[in-house]
Amino acid sequence: MSVAATRHSLGPLDQIPAGEARVFSVDGRAIAVFRCRSGELFATSAECPHRGGPLADGVVGGHAVICPLHGYLFDLRTGQPVGRECAPLSTYRVTLTGGGDLTVDLA
């Protein structure tokens, strides 16, 4: 059975300071949305699979985030860990509407 993705509005982009991330609670799931300085947007599961660190509090650069607790690094495009072994993050499609609102697609 295929499940269609559901699109959720998250409100205006300026809730996230440039280069940082914030957590949004969507359908009972905690989703971290990253607003890169390049303008690119990414959305992933909010908890680090290693020890549950808050990824939205991490340092973001290029296409990666560093978990603030133990320095695990993840590629935001794929959710895959970089350099160390760890479970990957879930990733979600996030877009910006013409009106400047964020939306995220949940499967």
Partner: protein
């Protein structure tokens, strides 16, 4: 799909293949890659060829990339095809089998070949070497030598350089009677001085290899098969196998025929581009950079990294500035490490130690208090320290013996010589629980530098004190394949500049934000691991006058509290000098009650820690405390621990509490490359442990203060060095600030003062900071004053956040709106 530019690499050896590895690691889609290699194989580790000759390595074990790897990486490899010419006008490379490959970028990595002197009888009428005569350069050479050795009894090696001795070792293992014939008066004259060469000769004697020094070979004797050699004095040596290893010559004929500028090697600039064709580059043993042609593997790997950075756009500013050459190897089973100059220049200091009985020889060439060169024979234990001091250009200890005999005396209580000797299940990194076996596995998996190994295993990423042991395991497992990671010399990994160069560029280009530094100096590539270090540096350079991009900061510095394992924070208000009052304690108790703080704890720095505060409660807690930040979360001056000093203590000879309070009031919040913990002690009993602090002041009889710097009692325990002894509190404050500023300007990011002081050397620090030998003291004093003047208590952001969501993790969302 975009069309990718065509890259052709001529040469599939250590340099060419490494370059392609580095390129695909950065961007597998950057180029359409074609390679030519004149051997019909993938690429292998040429350094291990003597092991193959000796039979200790199987040929298949020395392959770095088998043919299948090239397929996986979509690299078209013409294996076994020699390039016959380069047509620069048409931008084509033509192979001897008629293959034509177009290029937009061409890299020449043709390496070098054995130099074979003209000898009578060397070549037969058929134009081949006489049966039994070989060079020693490739896997095929190895196989041919081994084949012939099976029916031989005595081998002669022409050439007593590094490669010749490697060949001799291999032949000796095959149980042949081995003779080394060398033109010069001592062995390995390129790397060794005469005494070391003699010591090595004696070691070879013991191993059953006969050496003939100062002999010029004039002819190869024999009819079909070689039967001996003849020398210029008319004497002869009977033998039935000859290996010619008289040096190597860069393979430059292709480049020369293509009218590229060639001297000893193909001339390239710091961008590794040839002098007269912007689309042609050269790296490895065939390249000549700043007059140097390198024959060792480390420089060639550095070149491959730089060129990959430039070609893929990972860092278009990356430059190769030459290598400080050092090597560590085993010659005939004898451990040898050589680096830099083997003979002193005028004014250099030479330190010698020789112990002929054990075959131990050590020589240091010291220039301006730093290591300019060293030879170390028969003592592997001293090598890591010397290589480190040489690579990093550290100041040497006044007592040079500490370098020559690192484990003399009591510092090593009979344990194993090196982490390399530990069993696989021994835990090396006690912070992250990484065993030696795990490290060895990661090295097998391709980690070749300390940073790569630490990144992959997390070893050394906690307190960092195990890094020397991690390095030992790396060296033991990777041997000569250890790469010096140029990034280890950079201030931060993502901007390829050492700190002084980085500071100069930031000032020259007037860069005031972290993003502008990435744009101007890192090819626009934003590296998350470099952001916090750059933010700290910009604040040091521009004091209050910089563009504060908050995303560049670590979370602790965004919310001015220390993140805990559950994502909550700890709040430590400043208690100057650890001196508090009943009213202050009562207020802290009230805050703890009101906010139901899960844990209240006395810290090691004589303060009170409120633990388990959620991020969004931080402003409320700060407001209710009404005290300034204690900066217990920052890479900054933290605290000054004090003893009770003269006010109450019956032993106190100096007022340590008043001094500690003055220090905290003056320097609170001052950012630095790493944290700074201070202490003042009212007498030499040192109850506040001031001698093991980053900076400590100890009162001594006569109304004076000793100022210690570079002490620490954390993951590394080090007693500080005395910078100077002064008379007044004001003097202590002045020298404290001056050292802090010097440390802020010169230390690498996350380099504690105990490493910094060791690196620079206490004598040098006294010269600069006390004697004002460079005339910079007034500027340092002014700079630290400016930084102190720019101080603002960050907890004021509790009342006036810099962003409405500064203290919020979860965004407030407009009601969910489903749009199927």
């Amino acid at each position: 799909m975009r069309t990718r530019p065509k890259l052709v690499v001529i040469g599939n050896g250590m340099a060419g293949a490494r370059l392609v590895e580095e390129i695909v690691a950065r961007d597998p889609a950057a180029f359409e890659i074609t390679m030519f290699g004149d051997e019909p194989y993938g690429n292998y580790n040429r350094i291990l060829l003597s092991g193959v000759l000796a039979g200790t390595h199987d040929a298949k074990d020395i392959f770095i990339n088998p043919l299948a790897w090239y397929d996986q990486m979509n690299v078209r490899l013409h294996a076994g095809v020699r390039v016959s010419r380069i047509d620069r006008d048409r931008q084509q490379v033509i192979g001897d089998d008629g293959t034509v490959a177009d290029y937009e970028v061409l890299v020449i990595a043709t390496g070098s070949s054995a130099f074979v002197p003209p000898l009578d009888g060397l070549v037969t009428d058929t134009g081949r070497y006489r049966d039994g005569v070989f060079v020693f350069r490739t896997l095929d050479d190895c196989a041919a030598i081994r084949n012939h050795a099976a029916g031989s009894t005595r081998a002669a090696v022409i050439g007593g350089g590094l490669l010749g001795l490697e060949a001799a070792r291999g032949l000796r293992q095959l149980d042949l009677d081995v003779h080394v014939v060398h033109l010069m008066r001592h062995l390995m004259e390129v790397q060794l001085d005469e005494s070391a060469g003699e010591m090595l000769r004696a070691a070879m004697d013991r191993l059953g290899v006969t050496t003939h020094l100062g002999r010029r070979t004039t002819a190869v004797l024999g009819d079909a098969r070689v039967t001996g050699l003849m020398f210029d004095d008319g004497s002869r040596l009977e033998c039935d196998l000859v290996v010619v290893s008289a040096g190597i010559r860069p393979n430059v004929s292709l480049a020369r025929d293509a009218n590229l500028q060639v001297e000893r090697g193909i001339v390239v600039g710091d961008d590794l581009r040839t002098a007269n064709d912007p689309s042609v580059f050269a790296i490895g043993e065939c390249a000549q950079h700043r007059g140097q042609v390198y024959g060792l593997v480390a420089p060639l790997w550095e070149q491959a990294q730089v060129l990959a950075d430039r070609l893929t756009g990972a860092n278009r500013q990356s430059l190769y500035r030459g290598s400080r050459v050092s090597t560590k190897l085993k010659v005939m089973g004898v451990d040898l490490a050589v680096m830099g100059d083997k003979e002193p220049a005028q004014g250099d200091e030479v330190v010698h130690y020789a112990e002929p009985g054990r075959g131990v020889y050590k020589k240091l060439v010291v220039r301006d208090g730093r290591l300019a060169g060293a030879i170390l024979l028969g003592d592997p234990d001293a090598a890591p320290g010397l290589l480190h001091a040489f690579d990093r250009e550290h100041a040497l200890p006044e007592n040079r013996a500490e370098l020559l005999f690192p484990f003399a005396g009591s510092t090593r209580p009979g344990g194993p010589a090196s982490a390399a000797d530990l069993p696989d299940d021994a835990q090396i990194c006690n912070c992250n629980g990484v065993t030696k076996g795990r490290l060895a596995q990661a090295v097998q998996g391709g980690c070749r530098s300390l940073r790569a190994l630490c990144d992959a295993t997390r070893a050394g990423t906690g307190c960092g004190s195990c890094k020397p042991q991690v390095q030992q395991v790396l060296e033991a497992c990777a041997g000569d394949a250890v790469a010096d990671d140029p990034a280890s010399h950079y201030y931060v990994p993502g901007v390829p500049l050492k700190k002084p160069d980085l500071v100069a560029e930031i000032r020259r280009r007037n860069l005031r934000s972290v993003s502008s530094v990435f744009a101007a100096l890192a090819g626009g590539v934003e590296d998350p691991k470099s952001k916090a270090g750059l933010a700290s540096l910009l604040k040091t350079i521009w004091a209050g006058d910089y563009e504060d991009e908050r995303d560049a900061r670590f979370i602790n510095d965004r919310v001015h509290a220390n993140i805990q394992r559950d994502g909550t924070f700890s709040v430590i208000p400043r208690i100057y000098g650890g001196v508090t009052s009943a009213a202050q304690l009562r207020r802290i108790a009230d805050v703890a009650d009101k906010h139901q703080v899960p844990m209240v704890k006395i810290t090691g720095g004589q303060r009170i820690d409120l633990l388990g505060i959620p991020k969004d409660k931080l402003p409320d807690v700060w407001r209710d405390l009404g005290m300034p930040s204690g900066h217990a979360y920052a890479k900054a001056f933290r605290t000054c621990k004090t003893c009770v000093g003269t006010e109450f203590c019956r032993y106190g000879v100096g007022d340590s509490t008043a001094l500690g309070i003055a220090i905290e009031k003056r320097f609170q919040g001052l950012e630095s490359p790493h944290k700074m913990k201070l202490a003042t002690a009212g007498c030499p009993r040192n109850c506040s442990e001031a001698t093991t602090k980053d900076i400590g002041a100890v009162a001594i009889e006569g109304g004076r203060w000793e100022i210690y710097i570079g002490g620490g009692a954390g993951s590394k325990v080090r007693k500080g060095d005395i910078l100077c002894t002064v008379a007044t509190h004001d003097d202590v404050l002045r020298f404290t600030g001056r050292f802090m500023q010097f440390y802020r300007e010169h230390a690498r990011y996350l380099e504690r003062t105990y490493d910094f002081v060791e690196r620079v050397g206490i004598r040098e620090l006294q010269r600069v900071l006390v004697e004002d030998g460079d005339g910079v003291c007034a500027a340092l004093d002014a700079a630290v004053q400016a930084a102190v003047d720019a101080f603002v208590d960050p907890w004021q952001e509790g009342a006036v956040p810099i962003h409405p969501l500064q203290f919020k993790t979860v965004a407030t969302r407009t009601p969910a709106e489903s749009m199927a």
